[in-house]
């Protein structure tokens, strides 16, 4: 279906090629997963398949890429549109029209499909993806999972033989991600569509893949093979594989079911050991923030209804819930972006929406979902010096923070050219310059690979270690919450539906439980790290 022959892609002004001498063959009817750290060329590879690289992005492509027998050198993306359906990272930038039904028809209109056929295929696709009730709705009013399904549907209507997806689930909550993956499964099994997808959140997709292509980056050749084989040596792997490695299982389990079937001996080996609990935050001092009966309306909808929340210094709290549950609104209210329609918000004794920004910035800092919003200077150095100015900090404070969190970042680089992880860290440093006792992170792991996520975990732990700061993070990433948060709050429809220690809140819910908890239930283990530590303590001869 797809053949790469000695493909090298070089972008102008880049230090090295984005892909070097790649040979790859993907047969028809497979669900092929593309994995690798950030910057290893995943998006370039996907772009080369849909013809966007090099026709649209520029750069030079040496070698040959053929898709369904068509050479991408002579076929522009529009000439491949009937065999390749491709959906980028942000479904919103993919939409051309404004309602669901028109969007599904758009591709067929461009290809000149007869009206009767169009009518039939739109109906079929609406049913296949479960979008029938949404057909007349404006796309902008849909939830993230629904938008992603519409984006997939819009390329499916032309009956492509190949579907190319770049991080289809990374912006979605666990339930919406399941929805999208179920659709992909159905396409592969029932329609025989070939699917090629890149994804950072391996815990969600690896068990569905027939084949994994690992791009290790740093000039190493790609590894192609069965998922279990590739995962054994991969630098990026989901927690269930980490657990398998720690327990010395072979072949490695890829799904909860595989691991669960072998978990009994491991539970016995762990015996009566209990995970090391992080000490609960000191609740005696003045809380970093206090929310009482908070209600916020955004336009006609009630985004928050009667929320109570107290954040203590030294604690990390995870805020979870599906897309649109009110997580971002709660964070926004804590920094005064929304004024409450009822109830009260107090941050270090101040009412956020009535406080001058210059004063508030020393009490609370928020890193928004897209850290680029916070960065508007041309270089890292200029960004740092303007942060010092804004916060009234001594010159060099922010630069020193950047150096500590992200060693070796060049002064002259443009914030928009940084990787997602670097950009997040820079935005965090800018926020921390004012030394606020409350730090809020909105969806921090979006687009981060496992290495960048690990670094974020270390940074946040360090921030709260001395008990002077509270951190609240809104996230869909259950693994992050399990690893980092000592308390988890779940929001639904603007109300708090669960609030308590992470261990007891997440294990109780099938959607929010991390993989390790699902495998080792009913024992209270949450992360691979805990299990590895306990194994090393119990049997020192087992290699950790």
């Amino acid at each position: 279906m797809i053949t790469f022959e000695q493909v090298t892609v070089t972008y102008p002004d880049a230090a090295g090629p984005a892909l070097a001498g790649l040979d790859l063959h993907i047969p028809e009817g497979e669900l092929c997963l593309l994995v690798g750290p950030s910057g290893s060329g995943k998006s370039t590879l996907l772009g080369a398949v849909s013809g966007l690289v090099p026709h649209f992005t520029g750069g030079t492509l040496a070698g040959r890429v053929t898709v369904a027998g068509r050479d991408t050198r002579t076929h522009r993306p529009r000439d491949l549109a009937d065999v390749v359906g491709s959906v980028g990272q942000d479904p919103l930038s993919h939409f051309v029209t404004d309602t669901v039904e028109d969007e599904l028809a758009y591709g067929m209109e461009s290809l000149g499909t007869p009206p009767e056929v169009m009518r039939r295929r739109v109906e079929e696709t609406l049913d296949l993806l479960g979008l029938a009730e949404l057909r007349d709705r404006p796309i902008a009013a849909l939830s993230g999972g629904q938008q992603q399904r519409v984006a997939i549907g819009s390329v499916l209507t032309v009956n492509p033989r190949l579907l190319v997806l770049d991080e289809p689930t990374s912006a979605l909550d666990p339930a919406a991600a399941e929805e999208v993956l179920a659709v992909l499964q159905r396409l592969v099994h029932d329609l025989g569509t070939t699917v090629l997808l890149a994804e950072h959140r391996l815990e969600r997709v690896v068990q569905y893949a027939d084949r994994v292509v690992l791009l290790p980056g740093a000039g190493l050749p790609p590894v192609v093979g069965e998922p279990a084989e590739v995962m054994a040596a991969s630098p990026v792997f989901p927690p269930v594989v980490g657990l398998g490695r720690a327990a010395g299982w072979s072949p490695l389990p890829l799904s909860i079911r595989d691991a669960r079937r072998r978990a009994a001996p491991l539970r016995a080996r762990l015996g009566g050991a209990v995970p090391v609990q992080r000490t609960a935050a000191d609740a005696s001092g003045e809380p970093a923030a206090e929310v009482r009966g908070l209600a916020v309306r955004r336009g006609p909808v009630a985004a928050l209804r009667g929320v109570d929340l107290t954040l203590h210094r030294g604690s990390v709290t995870a805020l979870m819930g599906r897309n649109g549950a009110g997580k971002s609104t709660l964070l926004g209210s804590l920094v005064g972006l929304h004024s409450p329609s009822a109830g009260s918000v107090r941050v270090a004794g101040l009412v956020p929406h009535r406080t001058r920004p210059a004063q508030l910035v020393r009490r609370v800092g928020l890193v928004p979902q897209d850290p680029r919003d916070l960065l508007y200077r041309e270089t890292v150095a200029a960004e740092c010096s303007s942060a010092d100015e804004d916060c009234g900090a001594a010159p060099g404070t922010c630069r020193a923070l950047v150096e500590r969190l992200l060693p070796g970042l060049a002064d002259g680089s443009h914030p928009r050219d940084l990787s997602e992880g670097q950009r997040l860290t820079l935005a965090l440093a800018v926020v921390l310059t004012a030394r606020p006792p409350l730090v809020l992170l909105d969806e921090p792991t979006r687009g981060l690979d496992y290495a960048a996520k690990g670094r974020l975990v270390e940074i946040v732990r360090e921030l709260t270690a001395d008990g002077s700061r509270a951190v609240l993070l809104a996230t869909h990433d259950v693994e992050l919450a399990a690893e980092l948060a000592d308390r988890t709050v779940i929001l639904a429809e603007g109300e708090v539906v669960a609030d308590g220690p992470t261990g007891s809140v997440v294990t109780g819910s099938p959607a929010f439980a991390p993989q390790v908890a699902k495998v080792l239930a009913p024992d209270p283990w949450l992360t691979v790290e805990q299990v590895r530590g306990a194994l090393a303590a119990a049997q020192p001869e087992v290699p950790a």
Binding site: L52, H55, F56, P77, R78, D79, L80, A81, V84, S86, G88, D90, S93, H94, F95, V96, D98, E101, D102, A105, Y106, G107, M108, E109, S110, L111, G112, T113, P114, P115, M118, R119, V122, R137, P138, A140, A141, S154, V155, V158, V301, A302, G332, V335, L337, R356, P357, A358, V361, G365, L366, P368, R372, D373, L374, Y376, D390, C391, A434, E493
Partner: protein
């Protein structure tokens, strides 16, 4: 009308921004009239600003000085005209769906139409971006209100808009936008000749009509030019592969909406030739403008679409209470 029939689409929210812009224009016009004076002769002096003497080369420009009620009223009328125009553009922007407009275009013009539509959806996205980035300024500890705040988000907003357009262009390309059918070279040449000849004819005819000299030859030439251009469009449409999914029906409601607009325009033009003062209330001498009944009633016809147009679907109602 905007209140009654606007949809939940992102561009519907831009109406408020347009109204504010209209007010700003009005205020600027008045401020200029006060500061710089105006050539309108007037006798009713309201107050006198200290006049700043200017050097000889700036003759004809006056700073400060007497401010007359006549001048102010004239400036108010003038500013109001522009503000109302902006309000109308804003309303059209808030109510029209660019994509549906695009569907009504003939095939040969489709690609040019897409460019226009993308440009039109640009403005509302810009407004949304400005709002988000101003909120982000607050997070950096800077004032989120005022003109300075608006200026400083300029570059990031433009960057974001550019990125969005590039992303959209890529998505459209991968979905087959711009595929063309093979047509015989003879047809291609005929299309070019017809279109060019038609447009030249129309230009010449319009020039003739405007100069009052060639009314005899201009009208037939205009008709011929239009016919040639239309022929070119039809032939050009053969290159386009596109088909239409469920074209919009044209029924009573559509006739009412478009008819009411046309009727207002026709009536106003006709009435203004009969009763010019009703449309240009004089500022000198100062009089209270009377409400001309007929023209006002004619303008009210424009409210018909508020009832005749179909209600936009209301999204989100079933998700949250």
């Amino acid at each position: 009308m905007v209140a009654a029939r606007r949809s939940a689409a992102p561009w519907s929210r831009s109406y408020g921004a347009f109204l504010k812009l209209g007010l700003l224009v009005l205020v600027i016009r008045l401020v200029f009239a006060v500061l710089l004076g105006s050539p309108i002769p007037g006798t009713t002096v309201l107050f006198t600003l200290p006049e700043i003497p200017l050097p000889g080369w700036a003759q004809g420009v006056r700073l400060g000085g007497r401010v007359t009620a006549e001048a102010l009223v004239f400036a108010l009328y003038d500013g109001l005209k522009l503000a109302v125009l902006l309000g109308c553009v804003g309303a059209a922007n808030a109510l029209a769906s660019p994509a549906r407009l695009l569907r009504a275009l003939p095939g040969a013009l489709y690609e040019a139409g897409v460019a226009v539509v993308v440009a039109m959806t640009f403005a509302p996205h810009l407004v949304a971006d400005v709002r988000r980035l101003r909120a982000a300024r607050r997070l950096r500890g800077r004032a989120d209100r005022g003109f300075g705040a608006l200026l400083s988000v300029g570059i990031p907003v433009l960057e974001g808009a550019l990125e969005r357009s590039v992303g959209l262009a890529a998505a459209m390309d991968t979905r087959g936008f711009g595929r063309t059918a093979e047509v015989a070279p003879a047809i291609r040449r005929t299309t070019a000749v017809l279109t060019l000849a038609g447009l030249t004819g129309v230009c010449a005819a319009v020039y003739g009509l405007l100069t009052d000299t060639g009314t005899v030859w201009a009208l037939p030439l205009l008709a011929a030019g239009l016919a040639a251009a239309a022929g070119g469009l039809v032939l050009g449409g053969r290159r386009a592969l596109r088909t239409r999914y469920r074209p919009d029906p044209w029924a009573l409601r559509e006739w009412l909406v478009s008819g009411s607009g046309a009727a207002v325009a026709a009536l106003t033009v006709w009435l203004s030739t009969r009763d010019a003062t009703a449309f240009h209330p004089p500022a000198v001498p100062l009089t209270m403008p009377a409400l001309p009944l007929l023209p006002a009633a004619a303008v009210l016809l424009g409210l018909i679409p508020a009832v005749a147009a179909p209600l936009p679907p209301e999204p989100g109602k079933d998700i949250r209470r």
